[in-house]
């Protein structure tokens, strides 16, 4: 009985790390660019489908793990240059509309390329087994996913806190004009941050593909969950994205064993509770 809960807690951690990677990208883009990316879920979808394509073509999951975020990031970089850049100075309404348009285009392109039926992706050959602790067994791939996402999260934290790039991103979210005056090409910084944020969503898409496959309409669902995570954790906060993501993942996973139908319902219920008690999120500033 206890094993069932341990199983669900580990599942929740894995799910939570996926949500963390997705929403931390959303958060850093918002933090620096003050831009809300409604196409974020669509780029997650791109990651999942790239994983399918690369694994189907080469049989190599590791190639997908590299290619997915890189291609998603490159796609985002181009999108930023061509479209997103034009609306930074406009009110949020227009930013939302243009990214909603981008999300629709990505979703429909995905259906044109990969068809309307979802694709499943096998887990990598060397992680197909289970790991045993006494009489408790847990799939290797899921453990790898938790560990890898944690590693990426730590690397991201180092990047943001310990490098010049990170310092510029953080300074830019406080005062972009000042950073520009100090000689940084702020537009290049914006492009790089947008690409980085989206690459994280792409990576989350790749990592979740062996578990959930790739589906053309997953973008909306992922966007909804990323928003809930951010509302719970507080927008623009790295720690908020981590705690929010883990909380949402754990609630969803534990509910699956208690009341499967209401699992998704509960995470939105949790969000409503947080808004009532702490309108600015657990880590948000007023």
């Amino acid at each position: 009985m206890l094993n069932v809960y341990l199983f669900q807690i580990l599942n929740g951690l894995g799910l939570g790390m996926i949500y963390f990677l997705t929403s931390v990208g959303l958060t850093i883009i918002f933090g620096l660019l003050n831009f809300v990316n409604f196409a974020h879920g669509a780029f997650f979808l791109v990651g999942s489908y790239l994983c399918f394509t690369v694994v189907a073509a080469t049989g190599n999951f590791w190639a997908a793990l590299v290619a997915g975020p890189l291609i998603a990031g490159a796609l985002a970089w181009v999108t930023e240059r061509v479209l997103v850049r034009r609306v930074y100075h406009l009110p949020h309404t227009f930013q939302i509309l243009i990214t909603l348009g981008i999300a629709l285009i990505i979703q429909e392109s995905a259906i044109m390329i990969w068809g309307p039926v979802g694709k499943s992706v096998p887990p990598p050959e060397m992680l197909k087994g289970v790991i045993r602790f006494g009489n408790f067994a847990y799939p290797e791939y899921r453990l790898f996913m938790i560990g890898f996402a944690a590693l990426v999260g730590f690397a991201l934290w180092l990047l943001l806190e310990r490098t010049t790039f990170g310092a510029k991103v953080r300074a830019g979210s406080e005062n972009p004009e000042q950073v520009a005056l100090l000689g940084t090409n702020i537009y290049r910084l914006f492009s790089a941050t947008f690409a980085l944020g989206v690459a994280l969503a792409g990576l989350a898409g790749v990592l979740s593909a062996p578990l959930r496959g790739a589906h053309p309409f997953v973008g909306t669902e992922v966007l909804g969950i990323a928003f809930v995570t951010v509302v719970i954790g507080g927008m623009g906060s790295f720690g908020g994205a981590l705690i929010g993501g883990l909380l949402v993942g754990l609630v969803q996973s534990l509910m699956t064993s208690i009341w499967p139908q209401g699992a998704s319902l509960m995470i939105y219920g949790a969000m409503a509770a947080v808004i009532l008690l702490r309108p600015y999120g657990l880590f948000g500033r007023a």
Binding site: F30, V36, L83, R86, V87, L90, P91, H92, T93, F94, I96, L97, I98, L100, G101, I102, A103, L104, I105, Q107, E108, S109, I111, M112, T220, L223, G224, F227, V228, V230, V231, M235, Q261, G262, S264, L265, Y268, G269, M271, A272, I275, L276, P279, Y280
Partner: protein, 333 residues
């Protein structure tokens, strides 16, 4: 969210039953004559109603709501339930839809406006997801994935006296169009009233409106309630049109559709909402048969509107008219 960007003018002129209302009337008369079926025309007018309600929030109050599907879906479900289980008539069913939409909107509005700007938008979106999962989970009532089947379309009756059978498509169209026109005139009256001016003031500068002494919170919730009531009615009419209340009524894409119609038509113009719903419903009807991926065009259109034509179709028409006037050297109206 607050923006001070809506392109069209703030309040309509005092000519309440003047040009704009006549134009709406003309469009409503023309629609079923031009289109191949009255059912298609009815669908356009129902979505025009939903877009009009969305416009009250976005165009006049500056609130971008992804929650419209909640009110649309609740209107559809509750009116259907009271008709199916309690044998309610048309008017009762519509009143129930309006009240349910208003109540849901007041609740969502009150919770969501605890935050402003982008957080507000995200909250309305998340509440739509919440409502979707509630509807999905409560499948005993909503039919879950299958939707609520066998929704009746009762005759228009007053005190047991049947005035019109609405089963024929044309009769139903006339009923829906009349209701739309009434709501259109009412919405124009509301916008022209001091209440409407306050909403516009909140849109333009929420801080200043608050400083002047308006309880902006209360005004926003009221605008939400009003919008929810109208959207609820639209949802009920849609269920009666289809004889069916699908789960997709209460899904996020429905919110997006209503928003897109509002914006492509032109925010801040009620006639624009009719224009927007006509454009999108027709586009969908014609294109979906030829090219199932027509939603991609919608995405491109959205990007085009943001980059080239922020006033939407209505703004575009206004621009063309202004240019023509200029060329003729006539006076600006």
């Amino acid at each position: 969210m607050q923006t001070n960007s809506s392109p069209s003018s703030a309040t309509p002129s005092s000519s309440l039953f003047g040009g704009i209302t006549l134009a709406a009337l003309a469009a409503l008369v023309a629609l079923p004559l031009i289109l191949p079926s009255a059912t298609l025309a009815t669908e356009i007018v129902i979505f025009a109603m939903a877009a009009l309600a969305c416009n009250l929030l976005l165009g006049y109050t500056g609130l971008l709501s992804f929650g419209q599907a909640i009110f649309f879906g609740i209107g559809a479900y509750l009116s259907s339930l009271v008709m199916i289980h309690l044998g309610a008539g048309l008017i009762i069913a519509l009143v129930v839809a309006a009240l349910a939409g208003a109540a849901a909107a007041a609740l969502v509005g009150a919770l969501a406006i605890r935050r402003t700007g982008i957080y507000f938008v995200m909250l309305t979106l998340a509440f739509t997801q919440l409502a979707y999962f509630i509807a999905y989970t409560a499948s005993d009532w909503t039919g879950g994935d299958n939707g609520l089947l066998d929704v009746p379309r009762p005759p228009l009756a007053l005190g047991g006296l049947v005035i019109a059978d609405l089963e024929p498509a044309v009769s139903y169209y006339i009923f829906v169009a009349t209701l739309f026109l009434l709501l259109f005139v009412a919405a124009r009256r509301i916008i022209g009233s001091p209440f409407g001016s306050t909403l516009v003031a909140i849109r333009e500068n929420p801080d200043r409106a608050a400083a002047v002494g308006y309880d902006t919170r209360q005004f926003k919730i009221l605008a939400f309630t009003l919008s929810g009531a109208i959207t609820g009615i639209a949802g009920a009419l849609y269920a009666m049109l289809l004889h069916f209340a699908p789960l997709s009524n209460i899904e996020l894409p429905m919110s997006e559709n209503i928003l897109i119609m509002t914006i492509i038509g032109g925010t801040g113009s009620l006639l624009g909402s009719l224009l927007g719903s006509t454009a999108i419903v027709l586009l969908g009807d014609w294109l979906s048969a030829i090219w199932p991926r027509w939603l991609m065009l919608l995405g491109i259109a959205l990007i085009g509107v943001v980059i080239f034509m922020r006033g939407g179709l209505w703004g575009g028409i206004e621009g063309v008219v202004a240019k023509l006037r200029e060329r003729r050297g006539g006076p600006e109206a």
